[in-house]
């Protein structure tokens, strides 16, 4: 029978029993940060924030790649999209994110050839089918996505598809967690770590967070039972004075991650400093295209001026992404910033914290 076990991870009686277990806990107050947009949505959608006992606060961190992409990077891709002869391709999530002057959707309405793709391979196919055009893919995403783009770049290179380019703004989760841990005003007791990022990098990538910064980590799945079980595991670590990396999502994540995907990622990309919305520049937290593939690097091929870039005024997405504030503390939330008229990325992205609160928690 196909994947029938999934029912077990959604079953109301199981959820109730796990909640009861969590409610019996008598430890100190706990602040747990999730750093994965899919967890943000699961916690909101299943009402886990409200259902969790009083002493356990769930805070959203910088877990949505769309949201943490800096305006300068969005502006740069839009400027490239506006160049003649360019087909700009992107995952759909980025389309409505506003840049400094406009978003990709508006660029399209002004004549840019912007196309949504489901896979980077679709963009490569467009390049193959349109040899007279420059097809540029917006490489947004964490370690889950970067290997898929690496595989696509490798294919383009091997097949000599020279009109395919990538603007890589990929980001790495562990360096961001370590940067968060180093922030003086961060008040977090434990991390709920992303499942599908970890399917690639493996749980041990969070070892420095647990061992050097003393913050417990649990790699969690996305069903309500997964999230609750992971909260119990995190609470137990804190209550017992442990600080380790544990794997709850063992059906999707191997202890060593996906070594083939990591090898491919490293053969195409090199670590680089990257700017995160809300966090600033984090050393070694981004991926640039290595020299061997530089002829496919959009930032080398297309020189554009984005000196006008700045972050949206009045939007506190930066503070929301670091868990310092919640959406309800933003003056624009629900009033002038809504999913229909989003002012900041956390409201636009289907996995953004503001969108999750707007849709499920108010």
């Amino acid at each position: 029978m196909p994947l029938t076990y999934l029912d077990e991870f959604r079953s109301a009686p199981h959820v109730q029993r796990l909640l009861d277990e969590l409610n019996e806990r008598r430890g100190a107050e706990l602040k747990i940060m999730e750093v994965c947009g899919t967890h943000t949505m699961a916690i909101s959608r299943y009402g886990i924030r409200q259902a969790a006992p009083r002493g356990i606060t769930l805070i959203s961190g910088p877990g949505c790649p769309v949201c943490v992409t800096a305006n300068a990077d969005i502006d740069r891709f839009i400027e490239i999209a506006m160049l003649p002869g360019v087909i700009a391709t992107s995952f759909g999530d980025m389309l409505r994110v506003p840049g400094t002057r406009m978003g990709l959707a508006e660029a399209r309405s002004r004549g840019a050839d912007v196309r949504i793709v489901y896979s980077p391979l679709d963009a490569l196919k467009m390049a193959r089918d349109n040899p007279s055009k420059h097809v540029v893919f917006f490489g947004v995403g964490f370690e889950t996505t970067a290997p898929t783009v690496a595989a696509t770049l490798l294919e383009a290179h091997e097949q000599g598809i020279n009109n395919f380019f990538v603007q890589s703004v990929h980001k790495l989760v562990p360096p961001a967690l370590e940067a968060l841990c180093s922030m003086p005003d961060l008040d977090i007791d434990a991390f709920l770590c992303p499942g599908h990022v970890s399917a690639i990098i493996g749980p041990q990538a969070y070892k420095p967070v647990a061992e050097e910064f003393g913050i417990p980590c649990v790699v969690a799945g996305f069903e309500p039972v997964d999230v609750l079980q992971s909260l119990i595991m995190l609470a137990a670590q804190v209550d017992e004075g442990r600080s380790e990396v544990e794997l709850q999502y063992s059906r999707g994540v191997r202890p060593d991650g996906n070594p083939q995907a990591m090898a491919l990622l490293h053969s195409v990309f090199e670590p680089a400093d990257a700017e995160w919305r809300g966090l600033g520049i984090i050393p070694g937290s981004g991926l640039t295209i290595g020299d061997r593939f530089s002829s496919h690097d959009a930032s080398v091929r297309f020189q554009v001026d984005v000196s006008y870039s700045h972050e949206p005024r009045g939007c506190i997405c930066g503070e929301i992404l670091t868990g310092v504030h919640t959406p309800r503390q933003c003056k624009m939330f629900r009033k002038v910033c809504t999913p229909d008229h989003p002012l900041g990325p956390c409201m636009v992205s289907s996995e953004g914290t503001c969108a999750a609160y707007y849709q499920y928690e108010d």
């Binding site: 196909p2 994947l3 029938t4 076990y5 999934l6 029912d7 077990e8 991870f9 959604r10 079953s11 109301a12 009686p13 199981h14 029993r17 796990l18 009861d20 277990e21 994965c36 947009g37 899919t38 949505c64 790649p65 995952f91 999530d93 489901y118 896979s119 980077p120 391979l121 679709d122 947004v140 995403g141 964490f142 889950t144 996505t145 290997p147 898929t148 595989a151 992303p194 499942g195 599908h196 990022v197 399917a199 690639i200 799945g221 039972v225 997964d226 079980q229 119990i232 709850q248 063992s250 059906r251 999707g252 994540v253 191997r254 996906n258 083939q260 995907a261 491919l264 992205s349 996995e351």
Partner: protein
Amino acid sequence: MCLAVPAKITEMENQIATVQVGGLSRQASTVLLPDAAVGDYVLIHAGFAISLIDEEQALETIRLFDEMTGGMASGGGGA
């Protein structure tokens, strides 16, 4: 964005798998998961299989939360 959906591989040719996702048939590359084979359940992200789903591990997780809650989870399969 890091959403990955579970799917079953029903055919495979030159590292392109045909997978079933919620009753729909789609193509996915297996270059990131070269050991994947017909019959396997995999997680699909952006047109690529990125991880094998381990059903034994899934059942083990259920057994563990059964223990954790002192309950009878394995018998209580849900709607």
